[in-house]
């Protein structure tokens, strides 16, 4: 009898929390549901390396411009924002301190532009593995990233 009552209470609590979560997304751990990272992927590191690049598209569905100011990952000793740019006739990868997320717009992280570098990977990822990271925005909120490892 008590088990059944507990189950009903549990279900009710779950319903209330779900509705609250839908109505007030920022109430759940200061995560920004209106800004999402999708299609995230990473390369398998080269045999002699413990680093790799993460690519993705970050969409800002809000009416406010935001900036990505840092990135972190439990999978690596260091995570950094980088950009490929042209320097005279040469291409170069350099660390950047931020990436713009225009209002109702997006930021693309791909092999020809911005990307995230992960240095000192703690384990060697294989094709199909997932690497997680967290983007931190200028307003203190965070965006989770789940990247699939590809060849």
């Amino acid at each position: 009898m008590r088990a059944k009552r507990n189950a009903v209470l549990e279900r009710r609590a779950f319903l209330i929390l779900s509705v609250a979560g839908l109505l007030f997304p920022t109430a759940l751990g200061a995560q920004t549901a209106a800004i999402v990272a999708r299609d995230a992927w990473a390369r398998v590191p080269l045999p002699s390396k413990t680093e790799t690049a993460l690519y993705m598209v970050v969409e800002n569905h809000t009416a406010q411009s935001r900036t990505i100011v840092s990135v972190s990952s439990d999978a690596a000793a260091a995570a950094e924002l980088h950009q490929m740019t042209m320097m005279k006739t040469m291409m170069v990868m350099t660390p950047v301190s931020q990436v713009a997320l225009p209002a109702k717009g997006k930021a693309s992280f791909d092999p020809s532009g911005f990307h995230i570098m992960l240095y000192g990977l703690k384990t060697r990822p294989a094709v199909g593995d997932k690497i997680t990271a967290t983007l931190k925005l200028d307003d203190g909120t965070t965006v989770p990233v789940e990247a699939i490892v590809r060849k």
């Binding site: 080269l46 980088h82 320097m87 170069v92 092999p111």
Partner: protein
């Protein structure tokens, strides 16, 4: 009658193709160390078409992208694949030792020989081919420095002369076509 005209036109256009690839002023023979720690001389590749490009293995995007593109080129070359040799010359000899290059280039599906050497030796080849690179310290990064480098792929004919310069955004089709022209004009 029409078949003859078509055949004649095809032959004529082939002849035109041979005249169309100029011998470029950049390039020339050089000697470096390959990723088996053996002395390598470009002149040893006479008789094959050669693709040369400069990069470094800690390069996360440009170099893997070029290597993947060249893998696709080799697949498309089919029976002509053994007639083309690819050389990957590092502009980061401090980190790109023969062992590192051998391990990393081995993970790509193409017959690319890694070449390294002393800084003066590499600088000589870079100058010969009109390429460029620059080591840039990055104190704000976990990596001590980054390397800016030109991204041209140089295509040499079987006599060792530079005939085509492929820019970074050259497609697999364009590179295959360029190589076929080089191979056709040498037979």
């Amino acid at each position: 009658m029409r078949a003859w005209i078509v055949a004649l036109l095809a032959l004529a256009s082939l002849g035109c193709q041979r005249a169309q690839l100029p011998v470029l002023s950049v390039g020339g023979d050089f000697a470096l160390t390959d990723y088996n720690n053996q002395r390598f001389e470009l002149s040893s590749l006479r008789g094959k078409a050669v693709l040369i490009f400069f990069g470094y293995t800690s390069c996360p995007d440009v170099c893997p992208t070029t290597l993947s593109k060249l893998s696709s080129v080799y697949k498309r070359l089919g029976k002509d694949a053994p007639r083309v040799k690819t050389l990957y010359i590092t502009v980061d000899p401090d980190r790109d030792t023969p062992a590192v290059m051998k391990a990393d280039l081995g993970s790509f599906d193409l017959d690319a020989l890694g070449l390294t050497g002393t800084k003066p030796e590499i600088d000589k080849v870079v100058a010969l081919y009109g390429a460029s690179y620059e080591i840039i310290p990055t104190p704000q990064s976990a990596e001590k420095y980054t390397v800016a480098h030109s991204t041209t792929v140089y295509a040499l004919d079987p006599a060792g002369r530079t005939r085509v310069l492929f820019p970074y955004d050259a497609t697999v089709d364009q590179i295959v076509e360029g190589l076929r022209s080089i191979l056709v004009s040498s037979t």
